[in-house]
Each structure stands twice: as structure tokens, then as C-alpha cells.
Symmetry: C2
Subunit: 333 residues, 2 copies
């Protein structure tokens, strides 16, 4: 099946653009609803960080290191690299007897404006703690230390990545369709959008075993610390706050978004084929409204989908709309 | 006809995404080649600034104000707001006896990194001269002063915008399909992608009349001053330099790109439906290689299309590819 038109861009009374993609709502056994092609193969990118954290939970490494909800939320985060993110990940590494130099995520300018401005205006370069994935990598190092294996934890044949591959396949109910290298150098296993949604349904309704308990703790940590999962002004943080912690959501590069809805035992996954983040954020907001988890009158729904787009002089010039047939079209558009 | 797949994004050995759109090569009479739907209605956005400058040329306003090639290039520019752009547009306004406060484009942070850093670290706000459209608006004011009409030149019923509407329809050979308000508050007339390509063919092969002479001077100015049309590091500037000034190219917001090729008497227009600039830049590079105007071995073709995409640690993770059927697929991909 082809990708479905999900989000339109309008200017004045004419459509200026469109974003196509795939979306699936899964209950862990069956596809409840789908748009586009549920069999489409995608890279989940950072939307699957909670899956990548499972070996750390199941192995007892997290407990051995005494990790609390803040560290577990950071392990699932694509954070802004604000002072609090950097300090908390740095303290986590120190507690392991490790440091920033043990990370393998590389450096990029933090997304947090205050920290980025501080670095720029003081002529300082960012370090690996600023990388949005530094918490995930601290989790990787927590497992690596506990397992007593080598430090090159992002190599595809490293025991950690093989454990992540196995967990990925088991929660998705399918073998990975392939592997790529992510921006942070960690392997990223490709799979179907329905497999990703099925994985998120497993997190929404975890079994009472070591893996299931680990899943539940990761989801609870994300819902308890939305500011650590992303950062001020970011869609993940604002959406989780808007839903009062009832739902865990996570974005991934190239316009992937997932939602974990424990009270409905549902998982949601979507991918915009062109990588347009404005569309993935608008689409996840629409799906959460559609599922009754997000108040369509909440300001975040306006910010991500419904508010008019304004130009440099504050004049309304257009905005995003739900494509016909996409859920909530009649209610939210 | 639907949009055609033009540019693919690959990660490892799997396709991660795709950008669809429309592209037309026009000789002024007929469509020479097309991908997607040549009748698709688009907003040209900033890609049509040379059309918006025609009233200033035809009316004699440009000559009355003594404008040279630098000002004409700036009138067609989406510039970086670097010091030289700001100073040259400021001097132009001063020569008219006007100032920054007469502009109606609004303010945004300049794209030029040095100037943006200077403003941020000195706690200064950008002014309207930093707006990428300030040169176009200086051209608007040049016409307005010459015509002795009111200062609210971006209102849709202002004589300038009506003159632009007429010029737009005449060079495109079609009535505008509608109008929207651009980021800089100027009206932007929607039309077919083939009409935009036809307009650019007219600039490539201008008639020997007041309009045609104006067209030729604008194209010559763009080709002579690529650094003023965009700025250091920008695709428009680097592409025009790479082609030795033989071709004028111009980008527009939401992934529009045009090319004016005088020596072939051809116009090119393309639009990526999702607004992805990485795809519009890769697609125009591919078309220019396909047309024999750009050396496929030039570094700019690598930068925009062929070079591997590297992550934060410099590891090659994937890259862009031409979709099957898009020109130069076999040669450039």
C-alpha cells in the first residue's frame, strides 16, 4: 500500500503542500487502525530508545547501578542538552566511575537555546554530554559495565547491540529488516511500522516478568519526567504534560513518533515519509485527540496543528490541516 | 497526475524516506520535459522575485534611482542578512531618502552565522534589513517612490501589487490561480509549475522591449553577483559560482527552485510537495547536471546530492539518491 496523505499545508485558501506517511494503532495482538502501509519498513530512530534500554533493565544492571526514574527517563530521552540534562547525565556517569570520554555518541550543539547561546558566546564547544542521546549512551555504559564487556558498545557485534537486536525482534514480533547507523553511532534496527506499534503496545501492557517489569518502569519514568525526555518547548515534553502523564510519547529523527497508552493497552507508531517533523508532531497530536487522550482544546494541539501560521509581522498566512480520512479530520481540522 | 518520487533518503542499505514533487523544463513555447504534474498549482514563494521586480524595471524606476547590478541582484535575492547585505540594502534605501522603518518585510534572525552570533552575543535584535527579502522590498519602495503612490506597498490592492499580478500573469501565460501572503508579507501569486517554468524561459530568452531588457538586466545581475542573491555556503550562490555565471538559479520557501538558462533559452521550475529543502536542492543540482550546465564532478553536486551523509562522529550513515526515472538517475546516483 502507498503512503497516505496525513497532513496538509495551506496558504491563504490554497493547499501549498502535503506530508504523506504511515500510522498504526496496535493492541499487542492486532492492528486496531492503520493509515498508509502498516507493512512499510522504517527506521524507528530515537523513537525506540525504550526498547534499546531493555537489556539494562532485564539484566539487573539498572538496579545494580541504583538508577532511579530520572536516569531511566534520560535513557529513553532525546534531550535538549540543557544544563539539567548535562549535569544529570554527567553525575550518572560519575556514579559508574566513568566520564564524558567514555561516551560514543559524538558532539552536537545543544538544542536548548540558553545553553547553546552560552557555549557560542563564551566560545566553548559542546561535549558529548550535550548530545541528545547521551542518556541512552549512559544506559548503554551501565549495561556494559554490569556485563563486564568491552567499551566499544556501539559496534554492531558488541554483546549489547546483539542483546538489543534480540529484544527488538521479540517485542516487535518480527526479525529486523536491516540495520543502519544512527546519528549517535548506535545501530538502529529497521522494521515494519506495525511491528513498532506492536512493540509500543507491549510497553503499554507489560507482562509480569523481568522484561515486563522493566518496560513498566521505563514508561513510568518517561511519564513522570517529561522534561527529561525532551526539554522545555519540545513536543514530547509538552504533549506528556498536557495528558497529565497518562501517555508516554517519543519522537525519532526523520519524522517518527510513538505513543504508549497504558490505560488503553494500546501502542501507536507513525512515520512521515519525507522526514518532516512539523507533520509527525501534528499527526501524533491528532491521533492522541482521536483516541481521547488529549483535549483538542489544549494549547499544545493549537501549537502543533490548529493554530494559524503567522509571518514575521504576525500576519496569519496559513496553517496545517489534517488530510481527509486521517483520524479526527472532522473534529480537529 | 500525482507527484513523482524525485529524491530518496537511504540509511545503510535501506531506503529511509522519499521526497515527491513536480519539475518542468520549458522552452517558452512548450514543455520540454516534466516529472510529476506540470499542471500542479504551487506558490512560487521567493523563486519569483525576478518577476516581482519587473514593474521596477519596466517603469524606469530602477534607472531613475540609478540602480546598478548589485541592487538588481539584491532585488531578486533571499539573502543571508550578512553585514554586506545589510549595508548595501541600507545604502540603497538611504539613496531613496528612505530608511529601514519604511520596509514592510518584518524582522527575522539573519541566516548568516557571523551576523547572527554578533547579534545574539551583543543582545541586539535583528532589524528589517536582516530579513532575507529586504532587497526585494527596497525594490518595491523604488517603484513606489517613482510612481508617487502610497507607502503600504504590500497591500494586495496597492498599485505595485496589481502591476506585479499583471506581470506574473503575462510572463506565465496564465491567470494566477490564487494569492497568498508570503513570510515577508508581500502577496504571492499561485500558478502552475509549468507556468513558472514558462516564466523562467521568458527570462532566459527575453524580447527586445522594455520588459525584455529589464528581464535581461535582472538575470545578468543575478549571475554577476551570486553572493548577493543568497550568501556564503548557500546553494543558490554556490550553484551559480559552480556554473561560472552561465545560469541564474533561485530557491523559494517550501522547496521551490527555478533555473534560468540563457544559452539554452530554457527555464526550469521544480517543487517538492513536502517542502523539504534538502530535496529541492538535490533535485535542481540533478537537473542542471542532466542539462549539461553543471559538472557532476563539482563539489557542490557532492554537497547537495552525492556525498555520503555523516553522523556526529564522522561515520558514513547514508545519503540522498535520485529516484528511478528522475533525470541523471543513471549518471548521478
Amino acid at each position: 500500500m502507498p503512503a497516505a496523505e496525513l497532513i496538509e499545508l495551506w496558504r491563504g485558501n490554497l493547499q501549498e503542500g502535503v506530508h504523506r506517511g504511515h500510522a498504526v494503532i496496535h493492541d499487542g495482538r492486532d492492528i486496531m487502525a492503520a493509515w498508509g502501509d502498516p507493512d512499510a519498513i522504517i527506521f524507528p530512530r530515537s523513537s525506540c530508545k525504550m526498547v534499546q534500554a531493555l537489556p539494562m533493565m532485564e539484566s539487573g544492571a539498572a538496579d545494580a547501578a541504583g538508577l532511579g526514574p530520572e536516569q531511566l527517563a534520560l535513557a529513553c530521552a532525546s534531550h535538549n542538552g540543557s544544563v539539567q540534562h548535562v549535569e544529570k547525565v554527567g553525575a550518572w556517569l560519575s556514579g559508574l566511575g566513568l566520564g564524558e570520554h567514555d561516551l560514543r555518541c559524538g558532539c552536537h550543539k545543544p538544542w536548548d537555546k540558553a545553553e547553546a547561546t552560552r557555549l557560542t558566546c563564551s566560545h566553548h564547544a559542546p561535549n558529548q554530554l550535550h548530545n541528545n542521546c547521551s542518556g541512552k549512551h549512559a544506559g548503554f555504559l551501565t549495561w556494559t559495565q554490569h556485563a563486564g564487556v568491552g567499551p566499544e558498545y556501539v559496534e554492531i557485534d558488541h554483546p549489547l547491540q546483539q542483546a538489543i537486536r534480540q529484544a527488538t525482534a521479540e517485542v516487535a514480533g518480527e526479525e529486523p529488516a536491516g540495520v543502519g547507523i544512527d546519528g549517535c553511532s548506535a545501530p538502529n534496527f529497521a522494521g515494519s511500522i506495525s511491528g513498532l506499534a506492536r512493540s509500543m503496545a507491549a510497553f503499554a501492557n507489560p507482562a509480569n516478568d523481568a522484561r515486563g517489569r522493566g518496560m513498566g518502569r521505563l514508561v513510568d519514568a518517561m511519564r513522570a519526567h517529561p522534561e527529561l525526555v525532551a526539554g522545555e518547548g519540545r513536543a514530547c515534553t509538552e504533549l506528556m504534560r498536557a495528558m497529565g502523564g497518562r501517555v508516554a510519547v517519543k519522537t525519532g529523527a526523520e519524522a517518527v513518533y510513538i505513543a504508549i497508552i497504558p490505560e488503553k493497552k494500546l501502542g501507536v507508531a507513525l512515520k512521515i515519509e519525507d522526514g518532516g517533523t512539523r507533520a509527525s508532531e501534528a499527526a501524533i497530536a491528532a491521533l492522541l485527540v482521536h483516541l481521547g487522550m488529549l483535549d483538542e482544546a489544549h494549547p499544545i494541539v493549537g501549537k502543533l496543528l490548529r493554530d494559524p501560521m503567522k509571518n514575521w509581522r504576525g500576519i496569519e498566512v496559513g496553517g496545517l490541516r489534517l488530510a481527509p480520512g486521517f483520524p479526527g479530520h472532522s473534529r480537529v481540522a
